[in-house]
Amino acid sequence: MKKNESYEEFIKGVWRDNPVFAQVLGMCPMLAVTNSAINAVAMGMATFFVLVGSSFLVSSFRNWIPKQVRISCFIIIIATFVTIADYTLLALVPKVHKELGAFIPLIVANCLILGRQEAFASRYPTRLAVMDAIGMAVGFLVALLSLGAVREILGDGALFGVKLFSENFEPWVIMILPPGGFLTLGVILLFFNWFKFKKDEFLEEVAEAERSGR
């Protein structure tokens, strides 16, 4: 039973309440760094670290943080983890750090992270909070990667820097430029809408059939 509960929190973040596709949170880093798959992965890992770390701390200290100043406390905890991530990336992969530039410090302002602290980590025990954070972070990483992969394949004809097509492929340069981010995410959300639309229709049909069966 206990294991199921954790699993439930995990899968919720990855699919049903996916932070990007279902809740439309954390859009700024989402669109800004996804012009190649490798940047998307670096961003996803940094966000993963910050989200899991701060969820763990916030839920461990949830009984000591006074209600009135909780938002400021959350922000300071998050900012600390972001600073760690920033300097770690600078030391390990300076090239990626340079490309992501100001967007690593901007993880602080990612509404997804603060949202999870406020809505989940500050109310639930540590184990569940960490599972929830891992689920959300993986969901975010999946979303970043799917957007980054589409943009890199179409805009550069490559994935993770490996050329996929022959010389004849004309790259759609627009896809790695800012408008491409908006358009790709728009189209992906369109798919999700369509999926939900079909599901609702199907559920309605089932309900209809049950009613007439009685």
Binding site: V24, L25, M27, C28, M30, L31, A32, S72, I75, I76, A79, T80, V82, T83, D86, Y87, G101, A102, P105, L106, V108, A109, N110, C111, L114, I174, L177, P178, P179, G180, G181, F182, L183, L185, G186, V187, L189, L190, N193, W194, F197
Partner: protein, 192 residues
């Protein structure tokens, strides 16, 4: 003087915060459903950006030289508290202005465009006046993008759009087309 003008025009049009840097997308997509609200939000954001630029400059000059690793924490805490303080001040001194900016002021503090502005200005080593002009340009650029999207969305309300595409998907595609239009300004300064 020419340099300041360049910074201003670049922040408003060429490197528009919303459409080129993707900063401040949450209010951009969330609040842009009516022209009036978005104009007010834009006004309030421009104001907070000006305050931020001043705070960032003071912090950079006097505090962060000694401890660069505290940059992020300092920026967030100082900017948030200054904005709160000024909000109280405005409420006392000019209730009319307070009503115009309204509840947006505290919310804006966590907007990534604000923090982004402080970080970009620091990374580029802007001085006091350059920082102020940059903040003004960024604020006006943000307002411009917000008002344009709000106008388009108000028009879209009146036309019959398939149910499938309504909502965020449509807004993103509109924003993509807007962003493409703004790319046209990139050639504005090719000679310099």
């Amino acid at each position: 003087m020419e340099n300041l003008l360049w910074i201003f025009v670049s922040a408003v049009l060429v490197n528009n915060f919303v459409l080129t840097y993707f900063l401040g997308l949450c209010p951009f997509l969330g609040v842009s459903n009516s022209l009036e609200t978005s104009a007010r939000l834009g006004l309030a954001t421009t104001f907070v950006m000006l305050v931020t630029a001043i705070c960032a400059w003071v912090l950079n000059t006097y505090v962060l030289i000694h401890a660069p690793y505290l940059r992020l924490i300092c920026f967030i805490v100082v900017i948030a508290s200054t904005v709160q303080f000024i909000e109280m001040l405005i409420k006392k001194l000019s209730p009319a202005l307070f009503r115009a900016m309204g509840i947006f002021l505290p919310l804006i503090t966590t907007n990534c465009a604000i923090l982004g502005l402080a970080i970009f200005a620091t990374n580029r080593g802007y001085g006091f006046w350059e920082g102020i002009i940059y903040a003004l340009g960024a604020g006006i650029g943000f307002t411009l993008a917000l008002v344009l999207l709000a106008g388009l969305r108000e028009e879209a309300e009146l036309s019959s759009i398939p149910k499938l595409i309504q909502g965020t998907a449509m807004n993103l595609i509109i924003a993509g087309i807007l962003s493409m239009a703004f790319m046209g300004f990139a050639g504005l300064f090719s000679s310099t």
